[in-house]
């Protein structure tokens, strides 16, 4: 009996060892890197310390908005969703998600606005407005450290495929696609800036260049005007499709939101 128990214990230890070594190997083999890994030590320190991460200003605003009743229905976000740390855990890591009523995917900001209009009877918040970004940052904060888990709904797949095609589509006067830089030239420099692999691991981000918080769509539009293409409007289906594809591309990477980027 004792021998059997010892054998079982040894086997358990071996299994644990095997499991941990597998995880290490898998992590080393994964060539994907968050934009965080390309940053200077100073910018990394800024993100990692909540006392110095300016995005936390928006998070604290978002927390106040979560409990506010903005519309005719006199309901706060907290009125239905209760405490965000439980109800919103993992939510930001899974958006955009397919919406069965609208028959199209919605990103997190669109979802917040749908909720505002339908349940709070309040006017939708403008794209990139202080309030919308604050709410997004507060919700995203609840998924910090969790792996990105793209929407598994098969109805989202055609939209995701369109996003993938858009990622490879050359656009603008410079005739560049996302993949030209972010797959083929990642890690190299564009002027003084390191080209990251374009994984949306930290949105909404506090970007030092913006001196403020911004969404993934703002970043995408910035790249589009950078290659001298006409950027899609905020909330355009194409941008949501790109977001959907990018989240799939970054699946299982840890969400760092709200992140700091140079």
């Amino acid at each position: 009996m004792i021998g059997q128990a010892r054998f079982a214990a040894c086997r358990a230890v071996l299994l644990v060892l095997a499991a941990t070594s597998f995880v290490c190997v898998a992590a080393d083999k994964d060539p994907r890197r968050s934009g965080f890994d390309f940053m200077s030590p100073q910018t990394k320190a800024m993100q990692q310390d909540d006392a110095s991460n300016p995005a936390m200003l928006w998070v604290s605003d978002g927390e106040a908005l979560w409990n506010r009743r903005p519309g005719a229905s006199e309901r706060a976000c907290a009125g239905c969703h209760a405490a965000a740390p439980e109800s919103m855990r993992g939510i930001a890591a899974s958006y955009p998600r397919f919406d069965a009523t609208l028959q199209r995917p919605l990103d997190l900001r669109q979802r917040i606005n749908v909720c505002r209009v339908e349940h709070q009877h309040a006017p939708p918040l403008a794209a990139e407005s202080q309030e919308l970004l604050s709410l997004e940052a507060f919700v995203a904060m609840q998924s910090r450290g969790l792996p990105i888990k793209p929407d598994a709904d098969p109805r989202a797949q055609p939209f995701r495929e369109r996003g993938a095609a858009l990622f490879k589509q050359r656009i603008g006067q410079l005739d560049l696609s996302c993949t030209t830089c972010h797959d083929a030239l990642a890690g190299q420099r564009l002027g003084s800036a390191v080209i990251p692999q374009a994984h949306p691991t930290g949105y909404p981000i506090y970007r030092l260049e913006w001196q403020g918080l911004g969404s993934l769509q703002r970043r995408l539009r910035g790249c589009m005007s950078g290659v001298r293409a006409e950027p899609f409007a905020y909330g355009a289906p194409e941008l949501v499709e790109l977001e959907l594809y990018l989240m799939q591309r970054a699946a299982a990477m840890a969400l760092e939101a709200p992140a700091v980027r140079p």
């Binding site: 909540d50 006392a51 300016p54 604290s60």
Partner: protein, 106 residues
């Protein structure tokens, strides 16, 4: 809305140097930049941050157009007595924000 974040220890030993970190939301507009319409955006800066520890000034800093938006300022002071730290940011266009934090010193 709370638009300032202040981080300091809730308690400290007497004579200990404590680190205080402050972060405030402010555009820190330089007054030199043209806006989208081509006109110069008027200057809007925080000019001064001061910290009073039990009504005694222990730290102050002046800020200028080269200071970034949402300025972060960190400094040390000696924990001498339990009481209140009062932080005041003053700036252009009558900007004035005051926050207080208490500390217990043993």
């Amino acid at each position: 809305m709370a638009r300032a974040l202040i981080t300091l220890p809730a308690s400290a030993k007497r004579g200990e140097a404590i680190e205080i970190r402050t972060l405030i939301a402010h555009p820190m507009e330089t007054g030199y930049r043209p806006g989208e319409d081509g006109r110069i955006v008027p200057r809007d800066l925080i000019r001064r941050l001061s910290c009073h520890y039990n009504d005694e000034l222990v730290f102050s800093a002046e800020m200028f157009p080269a200071t970034s938006a949402n300025p972060f300022v960190s400094f040390y002071t000696l924990a001498l007595a339990s009481g209140t730290l009062r932080f005041t940011w003053e700036g252009d266009n009558g900007f004035l924000q005051t926050e207080s934090r208490s500390i217990s010193v043993t």
